[in-house]
């Protein structure tokens, strides 16, 4: 449960504002107090719609505490870029994992779980569980 062992969360969206806002929402809902590290990596480096390897790699490094990094993605190039980075290349820290989860609900679930000291498997399971919350 020590803070340096917390899993880091990276939110990768096609849009910078979407990633930032979901990170803020997750922090706000996760706890009154310190949460596990979470970073947004949305849009291109130039601020447009798209995905940036540089932003994703930077965000992952910034939240890496040695307990693994869970990456949540929204759609299109966000999914493919993270998969390509994981398949080959050395831009992401060891223990980085693409988590298959709905972006908003999964981000909240992942951050709550990581903040409570859950390991990477537990964080992944919590985020993926968010697919099960039916709304109708």
């Amino acid at each position: 449960m020590s803070e340096e062992q917390q899993v880091g969360i990276v939110l990768v969206s096609h849009s910078g504002p979407v990633a930032e806002t979901v990170a803020e929402l997750a922090r706000g809902l996760a706890a009154g107090g310190a949460t596990a590290p979470v970073a947004a990596a949305g849009g291109t480096s130039a601020g447009g719609l798209g995905t940036s390897v540089e932003l994703i790699a930077g965000a992952a490094r910034s939240v890496d505490r040695g307990a693994g990094v869970a990456l949540l993605v929204d759609l299109g190039s966000a999914v493919l870029t993270v998969k390509a980075m994981l398949a080959e290349g050395d831009e992401l820290p060891p223990g980085s994992r693409l988590v298959d989860a709905p972006f908003v609900e999964g981000a909240v679930a992942a951050l709550v779980t990581a903040s409570a000291g859950g390991d990477l498997d537990t964080v992944e399971a919590a985020a993926a569980d968010a697919y099960g919350y039916r709304k109708v």
Partner: protein, 205 residues
């Protein structure tokens, strides 16, 4: 045998073709995508050209690995990881020999195309770049010219298809009747092999 210079010429010819056809790629993408394919590919291959000049990779494998890494880093759209994975995996499969046989290259490109299919989860007939790349890989066993013709035919054959991957798939039946931009740019990449081989009608690359 194909040496390092052949692969540099391939990337240079692709960059030139992408420059030449950028507005057409964007127009095709405007019909069923988000109208950025031409500019995205142009940005990517401009970065490839600059990186190849800056770093002077010494082997065929290193040329393609470097090119792939640039595409993943700079394109910003889905074509970046897809084309980047294609070239990076092909480059890795070429190993670090100073020159490779035509057969070795065909094997490597096949591995690259398989990696693209795995990354995107697409298959033949989904109206994607694979519809140009899959026939091209088979035809490359005969010649670069045959590969070029197969890729072009594959791209044209995407017109009546309904998209099943990517943003175009949200359009459902409305994606029918448009040529796929990714298959079109893939055909440019394959056609550039003929230019790199220095022939216009066939060659033995």
């Amino acid at each position: 045998m194909l040496d390092t210079d052949f692969f540099r010429r391939w990337m240079a010819a692709t960059a030139a073709a992408v420059d030449r056809e950028a507005s057409r790629l964007t127009e095709l993408d405007a019909a069923i995508g988000d109208a950025d394919h031409g500019s995205n590919m142009q940005r990517g291959f401009t970065a490839v050209t600059a990186a190849l000049e800056r770093e002077s990779p010494a082997t065929p494998g290193a040329v393609l690995t470097l090119a792939g890494r640039q595409l993943i880093s700079t394109v910003g759209g889905a074509s970046g990881p897809l084309y980047g994975t294609l070239l990076r995996r092909t480059g890795k499969a070429l190993g670090d020999e100073p020159e490779v046989t035509d057969g070795r290259f065909a094997d490597a490109l096949e591995a690259g195309v398989e990696a693209v299919a795995q990354l995107g989860g697409a298959k033949a007939g989904d109206k994607t770049m694979l519809d140009a790349l899959l026939p091209a890989v088979g035809a490359l066993r005969s010649s670069a010219g045959a590969a070029r013709d197969a890729a072009l035919a594959g791209a044209l054959a995407t017109v009546p298809l309904q998209a099943r991957k990517g943003r175009a798939s949200y359009l459902g039946e409305r994606s029918i009747g448009h040529q796929d931009p990714g298959a079109t740019s893939a055909a440019l990449l394959v056609a550039a092999l003929v230019e790199a081989a220095g022939t216009s009608g066939g060659g033995d690359a």
